[in-house]
């Protein structure tokens, strides 16, 4: 082996660094599609479009479960008593303070629409159970009130309200 001049040396170093850098960029770019494919595919996205729900068959005191984007959505037709209970709470004393009015749509107080997934670790709570006549999660004992707010147990926050709007008095569009 011959010793090369220092000019050759630095040209060589430049080549090494440039080649290594370009190859590294290529490897990183190649990883992109391998990760991106894990995202929901186009048909799943399209299937996640808003859904309409007809509320007319739901009697007072009754609740139904519909699915949107694979998640159970509870729609409760609350009784006068339940609405009262939800209102007569000192909001400041709640673990996740939120007035009932912020959880329903104005003028449609009787309708509570929440995503039925416990904010603790994702189980589905049971409606009309627990000490507050709201929801009770059997997994680790979280108790929600008639507004879907957390009252007892390990869950950190209230049941989330999905995006929805009334398109008529008896019809909502979720999503």
């Amino acid at each position: 082996m011959t010793t090369s001049s220092s000019a050759g040396q630095s040209r060589r170093d430049f080549l090494f660094v440039a080649t290594g850098a370009v190859a590294a960029v290529g490897a990183a770019a190649a990883a992109w599609p391998l990760v991106a494919q894990l995202n929901p595919d186009a048909s799943t996205v399209a299937a996640g479009a808003p859904i309409e729900v007809d509320l007319s068959p739901i009697a007072e005191g009754q609740d139904i479960k519909v699915f949107w984007r694979g998640k159970p959505i509870f729609i409760s037709h609350r009784t006068k008593k339940q609405i009262e209970e939800a209102r007569n709470v000192n909001v400041a004393s709640l673990p996740d303070p939120q007035p009932d009015s912020a959880r329903v749509k104005e003028g449609h107080d009787q309708w509570l629409v929440v995503i039925g997934i416990c904010t603790h670790l994702g189980c589905v709570p049971i409606a009309h159970e627990g000490a507050y006549d709201g929801f009770f999660c059997p997994c680790h004992g979280s108790v929600y009130d008639t507004s879907g707010r957390i009252r007892q147990g390990p869950a950190p926050s209230n049941l989330p309200v999905p995006p929805y709007a009334f398109i008529s008095d008896s019809k909502i569009k979720i999503g």
């Binding site: 090369s4 060589r12 080549l15 080649t19 290529g26 770019a29 391998l34 894990l38 479009a49 068959p57």
Partner: protein, 687 residues
């Protein structure tokens, strides 16, 4: 991988690990310090390329399996959903399907290199036999993978190949039933093929480890075929071989990506874009190109059992090569006669491949028999005799001598390159098309052709109009959704426009809470509907022939391009067979069939339809569909527009593919250039 390592780590953590699991030492001695002969040429790079391809196939395969559904009813559509809906799904699928071809191209070069330079000879017999085992496993894996998309060729290929085992005396039939898991190829067959197709690559990887282990014990062979004697004969694996292989690999990737991004279906068969149909066999069953020589041998023998035995022997004979060829001189460079015979043998293999793609009739059968005889004669007669009678030229004393006295064997390399091109050229899809086609459809000029081709939005919108107002009366489009009309690279409708179009149709949905089915207006997530409630209704309404779904029509139709045209097609990126055919068909109706042609009742004469008697009537006439953009309202224009629309429907991501392809190609050219100069800089020290 041989002997205790000389690797001495300094870092205390490495030291701690090395003392307990000497894995760094193993890597160091195998891939860094490992001495490689100085005179290796680029044919040796294919070993590294093969490792890379195995990696690509495993990675893309594992990902495809995340989206694929191995069920006879769902497999075909799940593959289409990958290509259409999954992010970069088209890329992953094309990388995998073309990757199989690249894997075989590389393995054939690797094997021929071994044959030419005598890499199977003492002390590398086990290394060679492990290679034959890898090759067999590859063939099994490739075959089962081809079955998974559950298209027509998949299904009938599976039927034919599994039926090979029925040739076994006495137990044949029961063995075939056992392989199928049923009375015919069906869902259980698909399930087990999927399971094994996922498993075998890991078995291959295991045998590859043994193969590399054996290689590192015996040391690499080299073009001179003499063993390294002193340290002057070798260079350390890293950086010398690594950088050289890196450059070779980059060139190979450029070649690979040409197929992936520009002609992704060139090496496949259009029939495989037709869903599997156990009731109809394609006119010619052809395997993938890489099996064609063996397929030709199978068909050359006029006896079922003997044909099967011959086919398997053609591969197994390779395992006995170390003993069939007992010449003391390894490299054929110094064996003038053996060298000539070797190139004749390469020609024989290419010839067999060509014949495998041709229908088994007439002169092809005779040629097939002659070449089959030549194939076996090379191993069983030529090599054993030559090794006794041939007087080889003097081999160099050492590798260092070989490097100094090097003269370029340009001729051999050029020949080999032509050989590779020939292998490629054995495109099963286009050569084996039915010979009963009448006229060849004229080649049209399409805006989406070529490396920068794009769909003409206006044309797609007009084409959709023709589809909706004419074709949709009989044909469905089950893979296309209203939402697709808004996709980039498509007709470019707004969401509101697509919603309005979708709302025009009624979709059967349900059951609702009451358990009833109901009708609702379409949404953009719905697909283009079928005008008939089910297939039998479609049949009944159309004189017994169900109008095919049009989603994949442009990919599922082809016609013979002929030799040598289909070789040029690889360079010109020609892939417009489908649209040309559709346009020709729609404009090829003739009121009066030619003299002497008996047209069956209920058929129309069509110049371009195979057999010419078409169940579909001529549905297009001038001024039938109103265009608002001033395009001519005549049959020719309608046919062109709807053909372009069907091409888009068959491959909605075409524009994205070409655009990404261009970027990737530019990148790879730069990388290959840098690797080349780095390689020169590194090797400057070695001479």
């Amino acid at each position: 991988m041989s002997g205790p390592s000389t690797f001495q780590p300094k870092n205390p953590v490495l030291k701690w690990i090395e003392r307990r699991l000497p894995i760094f030492g193993l890597v160091h001695s195998s891939f860094v310090a490992y001495p490689t002969p100085r005179n290796l040429n680029y044919w040796w790079t294919f070993g590294g390329i093969l490792s890379f391809m195995l990696g690509v196939q495993i990675v893309t395969g594992v990902i495809l399996a995340m989206h694929y559904t191995p069920h006879a009813d769902l497999a075909f559509n799940s593959v289409e959903a990958i290509v259409r809906d999954v992010d970069y799904g088209w890329l992953l699928r094309y990388l995998h399907s073309n990757g199989a071809s690249m894997f075989f191209i590389a393995v054939y070069i690797h094997m021929l290199r071994g044959l030419y330079y005598g890499s199977y000879k003492e002390p590398r017999e086990i290394l060679w036999i492990l290679g034959v085992i890898i090759y067999l496993l590859m063939m099994a894996t490739g075959f089962m993978g081809y079955v998974l998309p559950w298209g027509q060729m998949s299904f009938w290929g599976a039927t034919v190949i599994t039926n090979l085992f029925s040739a076994i005396p006495y137990f044949g039939e029961s063995i075939v039933t056992l392989l199928w898991g049923g009375y015919s190829v069906g869902n259980p067959t698909l399930n087990r093929f999927f399971s094994l197709h996922y498993l075998l690559p890991f078995v291959i990887a295991g045998v590859v480890v043994l193969h590399v282990w054996a290689l590192h014990v015996a040391g690499q062979n080299n073009p001179a075929g003499v063993e390294p004697k002193s340290s002057k004969d070798t260079v350390p694996f890293t950086p010398y071989a690594t950088i050289k292989d890196g450059f070779g690999l980059a060139c190979f990737i450029l070649f690979y990506f040409w197929f992936v991004f520009y002609i992704p279906n060139y090496l496949g068969d259009p029939d495989n874009y037709i869903p599997a149909n156990p009731g109809v066999t394609p006119p010619h069953i052809v395997p993938e190109w890489y099996y064609l020589p063996f397929y030709a041998i199978l068909r050359s023998i006029p006896d079922k059992l003997a044909g099967v035995v011959a086919m398997f022997s053609a591969i197994l004979v390779l395992a006995f090569l170390p003993w069939l060829d007992s010449a003391k001189t390894r490299s054929m460079r110094y064996r003038p006669l053996a060298k000539q015979c070797f190139w004749i043998f390469v020609g024989v293999c290419l010839g067999l491949g060509y014949l495998g793609a041709k229908p088994p009739e007439g002169v092809y059968v005779i040629a097939g028999r002659i070449l089959t005889a030549c194939y076996f004669a090379y191993f069983l007669i030529v090599l054993p005799i030559l090794s006794r009678i041939e007087k080889p030229r003097a081999v160099p004393n050492s590798i260092a001598d070989d490097v100094l006295g090097k003269k370029k064997s340009v001729v051999a390399s050029a020949l080999a390159v032509i050989g590779v091109a020939g292998l490629l050229a054995l495109d099963s899809g286009s050569t084996a098309r039915a010979s009963d086609h009448g006229s060849t459809p004229p080649s049209m000029s399409w805006s989406f052709a070529g490396p920068f081709g794009k769909f003409d939005q206006g044309q797609l919108q007009r084409g959709y109009k023709v589809y909706k107002e004419v074709c949709a009366a009989c044909h469905s489009m089950n893979l296309v959704h209203y939402r697709n009309l808004t996709d980039p690279g498509g007709p470019g409708l707004s969401i509101a426009q697509a919603e309005a179009l979708a709302a025009e149709i009624q979709v059967k949905d349900g059951p609702n809470d009451a358990g009833d089915m109901f009708e609702r207006p379409g949404r953009i997530a719905d697909k283009f509907p079928s005008p008939f409630p089910n297939e039998n209704a479609a049949r009944a309404a159309n004189g017994g022939a169900a109008p095919p779904d049009l989603s994949l029509m442009a990919k599922a139709r082809g016609y013979e391009r002929g030799f040598p045209q289909f070789i040029f097609d690889a360079f010109t990126q020609f892939q417009e067979k489908g649209p040309n055919y559709i346009h020709a068909l729609l404009t090829g109706f003739e009121d009066t069939p030619p003299e002497g042609f008996k047209l069956p009742d209920g058929s129309t004469y069509n110049r371009y339809f195979p057999g010419h008697a078409m169940k579909m009537p001529n549905v297009l006439s001038d001024d039938q569909v109103t265009y608002d953009d001033g395009a001519p309202q005549n049959v020719d224009q309608y046919a062109k527009d709807v053909a372009a629309f069907l091409m888009w429907a068959a491959e909605p991501k075409l524009e994205e593919r070409k655009r990404l392809g261009f970027q990737v190609m530019i990148f790879m050219v730069i990388l290959a250039g840098l690797l080349y100069f780095t390689k020169r800089a590194v090797w400057a020290d070695a001479h």
